[in-house]
């Protein structure tokens, strides 16, 4: 299949099998596999360090950065506290501006709305702007099943789609791929679904981008229907905002006759003036630029300019469940900048796929369990533990989401959801510890035993590998050996240090901490 002509739907379906995150194992297992991939680790290290440095530079340029963060958080909190009122106001503004408003309780409902609109216009394909919400509801899979091809037009999304791959980052979804891999994918796949890449294509990023430009241009020019998300929706004017870099967003928002935007209900800002905060916070936090190349705003239908039929699908898909969680609701402030991914020591090492969700990294570790429900699978329940709780994500978050706080909150929920039934190792250990530490004499006994054991162990200063089930802890960590004499015994022997202060040869410990 080498022709540049549009293919019929059936042929397209053969080649475009959108992947899903279904079947990704729990985080520790997926992470182990990712850690063994040195190419992936190299790509991820380079990417996260580059963006994090750029972000730090451009945020330090603004003397009022902290005040902007506070305002961003406050505005979003106000939206959450009055969401029903703002939603109704937004709907009124949109309708007045000539847009059609749809409401979708869940993914299936949202997908059906989009499919129905596309069918009404008798199209076999749509062009699409990169959007997290449509990824979350797996719109592409539903459209393909309905016989409608979806062309991803963001360069990274195109790489992911043509590579039958999954996104691994919110902002740069193909960051796990290097140039040689991209070249190979373009050469192999582009011709199957449209304009092929030139046979002598090199792996220079500029040339690869050029191939994408040519491949997608024919799709932009003939597209009748486009699907997008939105970064913001302004309640008082009915204005939608898309922030982007390449111009593929502008192509989709401008050239087709029909535009369908699927947007989470939390994307509201109350007034146009509120964008003065977010249009400073977002680009600097996301790509580390003072401003992204293109930002488009549109208010319903503009006569003689752009799509003359404009739809907005307001998506819940469990956002209202998150809203009802007093600690967790702050996650709804998220503006999808991905600053937390780029600074996270865990994300940097394992990449995005191990999180098994369109939302990876620290924000994914809290958002995914809340959107899908704690206790629904081992994979989801592993996510709140995919963190060292170092807190850097909170420090860089432009809307001050206290991610560590929500992680701990969700760990509690995970544990609660597994109460009853046969207790696991952790539960048994905790129960045992609670009994041992529950009485003075038991603790004394424990310390005596520990002191004795230390006579065997103290030479190394650390406890090394231990048999199962304790090996699950000691395999990845060193544990300091217990002192030969406990504090309580020392106190009794020396009368609180008043007599005979000579030590019982407590050896200073070395080599503690992580391996």
């Amino acid at each position: 299949m080498t022709s540049g002509r549009p293919l019929n739907t059936l042929e397209t379906l053969k080649t475009l099998k959108t992947q899903t995150f279904l079947g990704i194992p729990p985080f520790p297992i997926a992470a182990k596999k990712a850690l063994a991939d040195s190419q992936l680790r190299g790509n991820m290290h380079h990417a996260t360090h580059t963006i994090r440095t750029k972000r730090a530079r451009v945020t330090s340029e603004l003397p009022d950065w902290e005040e902007l963060r506070v305002a961003g958080a406050d505005i979003k909190d106000d939206v959450m506290a009055n969401l029903d009122g703002y939603l109704v106001q937004l709907e009124e503004s949109l309708v007045k501006a000539g847009a059609t408003v749809h409401w979708a309780r869940d993914a299936a409902e949202a997908n059906q709305i989009v499919i129905d609109i596309a069918r009404r216009h008798k199209v076999g394909e749509v062009v699409k702007v990169k959007s997290m919400a449509t990824g979350e509801i797996e719109l592409n899979v539903a459209m393909e099943e309905a016989g409608i091809s979806v062309w991803e037009t963001d360069l990274a999304e195109l790489i992911v789609q043509l590579g039958h791959d999954l996104p691994s980052h919110i902002l740069v979804p193909a960051i796990h791929r290097n140039r040689a891999e991209v070249r190979e994918i373009f050469l192999r796949e582009m011709g199957k679904v449209g304009m092929p890449a030139a046979a002598d294509l090199s792996d220079e990023p500029a040339e690869l981008a050029g191939a994408a430009r040519r491949h997608l241009r024919e799709k932009f020019l003939r597209a009748k229907v486009a699907v997008s998300g939105a970064n913001f929706m302004v309640a008082d004017t009915g204005t939608l905002v898309v922030v982007e870099s390449e111009g593929n967003g502008r192509m989709c928002l401008t050239l087709p006759e029909v535009l369908i935007s699927v947007v989470g209900i939390e994307k509201i800002v109350p007034t146009w003036a509120d964008l003065e905060v977010f249009l400073q916070l977002l680009p600097r936090s996301a790509t580390g630029e003072r401003m992204n190349p293109y930002t488009s705003t549109w208010t319903g239908v503009t006569q003689g300019d752009g799509p003359q039929e404009v739809h907005v699908v307001l998506l819940d898909n469990n956002r209202t469940t998150v809203l009802a969680d007093e600690v967790g609701r702050q996650a709804l402030r998220c503006i999808r900048c991905s600053a937390c991914l780029n600074v996270c020591p865990v994300y940097e090492r394992v990449g995005g796929h191990a999180y098994g969700s369109i939302y990876p990294g620290p924000i994914g570790a809290i958002l995914t369990p809340m959107l899908k429900g704690v206790g629904t699978s081992a994979q989801i329940d592993s996510l709140p533990f995919a963190s060292s709780l170092c807190g850097v994500c909170y420090e860089v978050c432009p809307v001050r989401i206290n991610i560590p706080q929500v992680l701990v909150h969700l760990r509690e929920k995970v544990v609660d959801s597994h109460r009853g039934g046969v207790p696991g190792t952790l539960m048994t250990t905790m129960k045992g510890a609670s009994w041992l530490l529950g009485g003075g004499w038991r603790l004394g006994l424990l310390q005596k035993a520990a002191g004795l054991s230390s006579r065997v162990l103290w030479k190394q200063g650390v406890i090394g590998r231990m048999p199962r089930p304790m090996s699950r802890w000691t395999d990845a960590r060193d544990c300091p050996a217990p002192p030969r004499e406990s504090f309580r015994r020392w106190w009794a022997r020396t009368d609180g240090g008043l007599k005979n202060a000579g030590s019982a040869s407590n050896t200073p410990r070395k080599g503690t901490g992580q391996k």
Binding site: H46, M80, L155, P205, A273, W298
Partner: protein, 207 residues
């Protein structure tokens, strides 16, 4: 309208205190720059766009230089005719050019509404002289003529100035340099889908 009622109902039963907490807005609403024009030029050039600064009498010549190499140039209705260089035969957008027609155009020449010094951004509200959105998107070269009085300090001042356009239902396009991507190994590449080249002509009455 079942989904609508149910979502609103779920929001209301989320048990959240429906109070308007005052939003702390202690950030800068204006910025004092020693030379806003110089800052703007520096920041635009940072994006690898070019700027020609000129007085009123040199605009046409600067536009001609910026359009060098472009054979077919689309100029939207309402563009200041005194800024048009001689010998140029602009392609009109009346009746509206098709997307395919636009794909065969080399360049577009427009004015703008507001520019932001700190971020090096140009904003079009697509009124007179700026054309509909597709005009500044499909051709590969965008030449934009700005006047110095259109430059404001930072984003809040621009948002305030653009309020009237938004209230009137106008779409906006914020442009900060040429189209770009960092999707492959985070290496910046210019010109994926939007114009690969952006040239700004900056008109200063005193220059």
């Amino acid at each position: 309208m079942k989904a609508r009622e149910e979502i609103l109902q779920r929001v209301q039963s989320a048990n959240i205190a429906a109070t308007h907490q005052p939003v702390r807005r202690d950030y800068a609403h204006t910025v004092e720059l020693a030379d806003p024009v110089a800052t703007f030029v520096e920041r635009v050039e940072d994006y690898k766009a070019t700027v020609i600064r000129t007085g009123l009498d040199g605009v046409a010549a600067a536009v001609a230089k910026s359009l060098e190499g472009a054979r077919r140039v689309v100029v939207p209705a309402g563009f200041n005719e005194s800024w048009l260089p001689e010998g140029i035969d602009p392609v009109p957008d009346e009746p509206a050019l098709s997307s395919e027609d636009l794909d065969g155009i080399d360049a577009v020449l427009t004015s703008a509404t507001v520019a932001i010094a700190v971020t090096g951004t140009i904003v079009l509200d697509h009124t007179e002289g700026q054309g509909r959105r597709a005009l500044t998107l499909v051709p590969d070269l965008h030449v934009c003529v700005l006047t110095a009085d259109q430059i404001v300090g930072d984003v809040p001042e621009a948002v305030a100035r653009l309020s009237a356009s938004v209230d009137a239902g106008r779409p906006l396009t914020w442009v900060s340099g040429p189209s770009a991507t960092v999707d492959i190994e985070l290496i910046r590449v210019h010109g994926v889908h939007g114009p690969r080249t952006l040239r700004v002509v900056l008109v200063e009455s005193t220059a």
